[in-house]
Subunit: 203 residues, 2 copies
């Protein structure tokens, strides 16, 4: 796996700097049970509004339940399936829209699930695993395949596994796998005291 | 600050385990510029759909721009202001709803901002700082105060600072500050192969 550490104005924690979204997975090596549990525990301890924990994750491990895993593979968009077919674990991230304590709408339910998924991906990076989130999949098919209730938001598919060799990755993706990572300059997204007023990185 | 490490079935990364949402802030100690930049860089390197980076953060530092900071304080719900008044930095997390590249709706915009905010909070934990997200604030007032465009979703206020002493925290919050952290059992939120089928933690 290419080592693509974030380029930052000041040092940040190495796990955050090292996390990225590779497409090269080892197709034959399973994620150990303890590793998988660590990913889920990391997600479980994310913060959420009123501690509601609106996330629900459906985990499909090829080495534990090949049928469920294949059902998930069949939901992926072609361009994702080309590389994610090698990922031994696929995880569906979903969000319950109403609070548990009063059944009123929780306007942070997607935001909070995003945090939980990020914890999961960071824990993967910490363990030397690869995690790559996808939006490109058939939501209706995933809903039917996994019995997701109609009111629940189906948000992301997360491929997890051990890093794979570049030459096992479909040729279309090899360049992207090696390109430098990119982010907008900090001042374009982070403002000082008012919308649009760039926060500058000079110390 | 109380040390409230997450109780997990298997070990997880210490920064994820140590992050929680305290209310006791040191009212007089500034967040150093380099620390603040590290929080923002951590957020900046979060993943996002199509690399769109839909997050926009407005940063108000009492020691840099007291007027903006006070304007933010005036937006907070009373129950939050009671403790967040001691936080030297307040950050507004917002989400742009449409993709930059084609102006079509980005259904992951809130999810992705949740990930960026979580990176910010984890980086705070890594630096020994305190970060606490709030949903309880006047969104319309915040929108007016900081000039947030009408189409942008205003999601969360994040209080950041150095940990404070328990006896400086308003009395109402001291018990909660010391209580054990709680999460639902893993099997209630994490499923194996199908909705509602609990994933068990026994290895």
């Amino acid at each position: 796996m290419s080592d693509k550490i974030a380029v930052t104005a000041v040092p940040i924690h190495s796990v955050i700097a090292r996390r990225w979204s590779p497409r090269a997975f080892d197709a034959v090596r399973a994620v150990e049970r303890e590793q998988l549990l660590a990913l889920l525990e990391a997600a479980r301890w994310a913060p959420s509004c009123f501690g509601d924990q609106p996330w629900r994750f459906v985990v499909c491990d090829r080495f534990d339940d090949a049928e469920a895993w294949q059902g998930f593979q069949d939901c992926l968009a072609d361009m994702n399936h080309l590389w994610a077919k090698n990922a031994p674990v696929l995880i569906l991230a979903t969000a319950v829209p109403n609070f548990t304590h009063n059944d009123e709408p929780n306007r942070w339910h997607q935001y909070d699930v995003g945090a939980a998924s990020e914890n999961l991906c960071l824990q993967a990076a910490a363990l030397g695993l690869v995690a790559h989130q996808m939006g490109g999949f058939d939501v209706d098919r995933a809903r039917a395949t996994f019995g997701i209730p109609p009111e629940v938001d189906v948000l992301a598919a997360i491929a997890v596994g051990h890093p794979g060799a570049l030459d096992e990755l479909a040729e279309d993706f090899r360049d992207a796998e090696q390109q430098a990572r990119f982010r907008a300059p900090l001042g374009e997204r982070f403002f000082r005291g008012n919308w649009g007023n760039p926060l500058l990185t000079s110390c």
